[in-house]
C-alpha cells in the first residue's frame, strides 16, 4: 500500500464511519469518557487495518511507509475525531519498544497499544528532575534476575489509565549522570505502584504523580542495555517531536478553521490572523519535511527541536487569537464551544513547557545545531 492508496482508502472509510467516531464534547465530558472514546477509535481503525499500516509486521503491523501513520493521525485530527495529545503517545512509545525491547516482548505488547486494548505511559520526569533528565534518581537495584524499583515520577501523562510504563531508572551511582540510567518496561499493576492524578489548571487531569515502593520488575523487561537508558531516551525524544507534532499541527489547523468559520471569527484582527496562518503554514512545511526524512529511514535528532519550537509558537499564536476574538466565550462561555475554547486556551500555555521546555529546545539548538560548545 502506498500513501496515495492509503489516503484514498482511509478518507473513504472515514466518510462512512466518521459518525461512529465522533467524540463526546462539552463541559460535562470526563477524561474517562475521552479515554474510552480513544480506545474505540484505535480499535476500529486497527480492525479496519488503517492503524496497522506503517508499523513493522513483527509487531502486528502491515508494514509500509511511516507516512501512513502520519496521515492517519492527521486525518483523524482534521475531522476532529481525536485529541492528539492522548492519541499520539503511541507514536512515542511504540517505536521505543520496537527498537529496544526483546523482539518477543515487542511482538506481544505493541499490538495491544495499537489496538487500544492498553494505555501506556512514559515515566521520565521526577520532582527534582524536570529539564535535567540526566539527574534522575528513581532507583532500580538488581535482585536475582529482577529489578527492584523505588522512587517517584511526576508529570506522567495518563498514568492512572496506563497498563504499562516505559520507565527510566537510576542503576548507576547517584553521580553517574546519563551513564547510569536503565530503561524498564513496567506493568502498572505491579504491587508497590501508587498513582495520584494532578489537578491541572485546564481541568483535565491527565498528568500524574507515580510512586514506586520496592516494585519488582523482571530482568527481561529491560529496554536496551543496562546503564544504556540514556540512548533509549535520546532515541525516543525526537519521536516526540516528529509524528506527534504533525498530528498536533493538523489539530491546530482544524481548530483555526473552526474559529474562522464560527461567529467569533468575525472579530479576528486581520494582521494577527495573517500572522498565525503564516506560522501554521511554516510549521506544516517544516514538519512535513520531517515526516519524509523519517519515512526515508533518516535517524531523527536535535533538528526536531526546531519543529518543537515552531509548533509551540504556532499553538500559542492560535490560542492567543482565540482569546482575543472569542474573549467572552473563553472567559464566560458555558456552552460546549466556549468551554472547549477555554480548556484548549489554558492548555496551550503548556506548549512551551511540556515535551522539553522552550528553553531546553533552545539549549539543544545552541549546542547541537549551532555548535556553540558547552554552556558553562
Amino acid at each position: 500500500m502506498d500513501l496515495q492508496e492509503f489516503r484514498a482508502g482511509l478518507d473513504g472509510w472515514l466518510d462512512e464511519h466518521g459518525p461512529e467516531l465522533v467524540p463526546p464534547h462539552g463541559p460535562g465530558v470526563t477524561l474517562d469518557a475521552e479515554m474510552e472514546h480513544l480506545s474505540k477509535v484505535k480499535r476500529l481503525t486497527y480492525e479496519a487495518g488503517w492503524m496497522r499500516w506503517g508499523w513493522p509486521e513483527r509487531v502486528g503491523g502491515l508494514g509500509g511507509s511511516t507516512l501512513m501513520r502520519a496521515y492517519l493521525g492527521e486525518a483523524l485530527a482534521s475531522r476532529d475525531l481525536i485529541e492528539p495529545g492522548i492519541y499520539s503517545m503511541t507514536e512515542v512509545l511504540a517505536p521505543t519498544m520496537i527498537e529496544f525491547a526483546r523482539p518477543a516482548l515487542a511482538a506481544e505488547m505493541v499490538p495491544r497499544l495499537l489496538r487500544g486494548d492498553e494505555t501506556w505511559c512514559q515515566g521520565f520526569s521526577e520532582p527534582s528532575t524536570g529539564s535535567n533528565l540526566g539527574s534522575l534518581a528513581c532507583r532500580a537495584r538488581p535482585d536475582g534476575d529482577d529489578w527492584v524499583v523505588s522512587g517517584q515520577k511526576v508529570w506522567t501523562s495518563l498514568a492512572q489509565y496506563a497498563d504499562r510504563c516505559v520507565l527510566l531508572t537510576r542503576t548507576g551511582s547517584p553521580e553517574s549522570g546519563h551513564r547510569g540510567i536503565t530503561a524498564l518496561f513496567v506493568d502498572m499493576d505491579s504491587p508497590g505502584i501508587t498513582v495520584r492524578p494532578i489537578q491541572a489548571m485546564h481541568g483535565r487531569d491527565e498528568f500524574c504523580e507515580v510512586f514506586f515502593d520496592e516494585v519488582r520488575v523482571p530482568g527481561d523487561r529491560t529496554l536496551g542495555e543496562v546503564d544504556g537508558g540514556w540512548a533509549v531516551a535520546m532515541d525516543l525524544l525526537p519521536y516526540e517531536r516528529s509524528t506527534s507534532l504533525w498530528h498536533r499541527g493538523a489539530f491546530l489547523r482544524q481548530r483555526l478553521e473552526h474559529l474562522l468559520a464560527s461567529p467569533p471569527g468575525e472579530a479576528l484582527d486581520p494582521a494577527d490572523l495573517g500572522e498565525a496562518a503564516q506560522l501554521a503554514f511554516a510549521f506544516h512545511a517544516r514538519s512535513r519535511a520531517t515526516q519524509y526524512r523519517m519515512a526515508g529511514g533518516e535517524r531523527l535528532g536535535p533538528e526536531t527541536s526546531v519543529d518543537k519550537v515552531l509548533l509551540a509558537t504556532t499553538e500559542q499564536a492560535v490560542y492567543d487569537l482565540v482569546a482575543d476574538a472569542a474573549a467572552a466565550d473563553v472567559a464566560l462561555g458555558d456552552d460546549p464551544d466556549g468551554a472547549r475554547w477555554r480548556t484548549e486556551f489554558l492548555y496551550s500555555r503548556a506548549a512551551t513547557i511540556y515535551g522539553g521546555s522552550a528553553e531546553i529546545q533552545r539549549n539543544i539548538i545552541a549546542r547541537r545545531l549551532l555548535d556553540l560548545g558547552v554552556d558553562r
Binding site: 500513501l3 489516503r7 507516512l67 502520519a70 496521515y71 492527521e74 489547523r253 483555526l256 478553521e257 474562522l260 468559520a261 471569527g265 468575525e266 479576528l268 484582527d269 486581520p270 494582521a271 494577527d272 490572523l273 495573517g274 500572522e275 496562518a277 503564516q278 506560522l279 501554521a280 503554514f281 511554516a282 510549521f283 506544516h284 512545511a285 517544516r286 512535513r288 519535511a289 515526516q291 526546531v306 519550537v309 515552531l310 509558537t313 528553553e359 529546545q361 533552545r362 539549549n363 539548538i365 545552541a366 549546542r367 545545531l369 549551532l370 556553540l372 560548545g373 558547552v374 554552556d375 558553562r376
Partner: protein
C-alpha cells in the same frame, strides 16, 4: 525539478559569481553560469538557489529583472531591466491615460545600464520602453550597495505585448519567492557572523557563546530562518515545473512575509550578540541588516502581506492550502 548534484554545482558557480562584487560583474558572471538558461530548463526550483547565494554574499545583480521579465513572457537579458512597484507595495508601476504610459516605480542595480525596461501597467499590459525615455535617479537610501533607483516617466508610447492577469500575479509570486530566498540567505550570513563572534569573544573568562542569554538569541535566529525556509520550500514545491512556472500566489506571499519578518528578528538578535563591533561600519553586519530592510520593501512588505492574508482568510473563511503529505 533540479537534482541535488546540479544544484550543488550551480550553487558553487553562483557563490563564485557573487564574490566579484558590483552588479555589472555579477550580471556578466550570471551570463557565464547560464542563469537565464537554467531558469528556462529547471523552472522555479533554481530560484531559491540563486537568490539565497546572492543574499548570503550581499551581492546585487539583475537576476530579479530576468526572473520577472521571463515570467511575463518577455525575453530576459542583460540589456533589459524590470520596473518594480514602489517601495512597500505590490501594485503595477505603470498606468495608461489617453494612450500615454506613465511609470512610477523602482529599478534594481541593472536599471541604469540597461537599454530597455519592462513596465507592467494597471491594465495588465507589459510594455517594453527605452530606458533613455525614463527618469532614473539612483537612491542610496538604507542600502547603497543594492543600487536601487527611482524610476519615473510620462507620455511614453503605450504599445506593448499584452500580459494576462495571471502573468502579473505569477511574476509577482515568483519575485516574492526570489526575495524571500535572498532575505533568508542574508539572515544565514548574519547568524554566521554572530555565531563566530559568540565563540571567539571572551568576557568574564569564557566565550560569550557559553552564556544562555546569548545562546538562546542565536537559537531563536536559527528557528526563525528554518521556519521561513520551510515555508519557502513548500511554496516552491507548490509551483509547477513548467516554464514559465505557475506559482501559487498565497504561499509565495506567505514565504515573503515570513522571510521579511524573520530576517528582522535575526538582525535584532545578531546585532545584540555582536554588540559594539556590530555597530561599526567596519564590520560586515550592517550591510546585511541594510539589505534585509530593503528587500522587505520590494514587491510587498511583511506587514502589508500579512494584513492582506488575514483579510483574505476572513473573506474566504478558509485557511490557505498547504501541500498534502
Amino acid at each position: 525539478m533540479i537534482d541535488a548534484e546540479t544544484a550543488e554545482l550551480l550553487a558553487h558557480s553562483l557563490r563564485r559569481a557573487f564574490e566579484k562584487g558590483g552588479a555589472a560583474s555579477a550580471d556578466a558572471a550570471l551570463d557565464e553560469v547560464g542563469w537565464c538558461e537554467a531558469l528556462a530548463a529547471e523552472g522555479i526550483s533554481v530560484v531559491p538557489l540563486l537568490f539565497a547565494e546572492q543574499g548570503a554574499a550581499n551581492a546585487a545583480s539583475g537576476a530579479l529583472d530576468d526572473l520577472m521579465t521571463a515570467m511575463l513572457g518577455v525575453p530576459p537579458g542583460r540589456g533589459t531591466a524590470f520596473v518594480l512597484p514602489e517601495f512597500g507595495g505590490g501594485v503595477m508601476p505603470g498606468s495608461v491615460r489617453n494612450g500615454d504610459l506613465a511609470v512610477r516605480g523602482l529599478g534594481t542595480a541593472r536599471m541604469a545600464a540597461a537599454e530597455h525596461a519592462v513596465v507592467v501597467t494597471e491594465e495588465h499590459r507589459a510594455a517594453v520602453v527605452e530606458t533613455a525615455s525614463l527618469r532614473i535617479r539612483p537612491v542610496e537610501g538604507i542600502d547603497p550597495r543594492l543600487g536601487l533607483a527611482k524610476v519615473e516617466g510620462a507620455g511614453l508610447p503605450a504599445a506593448g505585448a499584452r500580459a494576462t492577469d495571471a502573468g502579473w500575479t505569477e511574476a509577482l509570486a515568483a519575485g516574492r519567492l526570489a526575495l524571500a530566498s535572498e532575505a533568508a540567505g542574508a539572515s544565514r550570513t548574519m547568524l554566521r557572523l554572530a555565531r563566530e563572534h559568540a565563540v571567539t569573544r571572551v568576557q568574564f573568562g569564557r566565550p560569550i557563546g557559553s552564556f544562555q542569554a546569548v545562546r538562546h538569541r542565536l537559537a531563536e535566529c536559527l528557528v526563525a530562518i528554518e521556519g521561513a525556509e520551510a515555508a519557502l520550500a513548500a511554496a516552491v514545491e507548490m509551483a509547477d515545473g513548467e516554464w514559465p512556472a505557475r506559482v501559487p500566489p498565497v504561499p509565495a506571499a506567505i514565504a515573503k512575509a515570513l522571510a521579511g519578518r524573520h530576517a528582522r528578528t535575526v538582525a535584532r538578535h545578531c546585532q545584540q550578540v555582536l554588540a559594539g563591533v556590530g555597530f561599526t561600519d567596519e564590520h560586515d553586519f550592517h550591510h546585511h541588516f541594510r539589505r534585509v530592510l530593503a528587500l522587505d520593501g520590494l514587491l510587498g512588505d511583511a506587514r502589508t502581506l500579512t494584513r492582506e492574508l488575514g483579510a483574505e482568510l476572513l473573506r474566504t473563511r478558509r485557511l490557505p492550502a498547504v501541500p498534502p503529505l
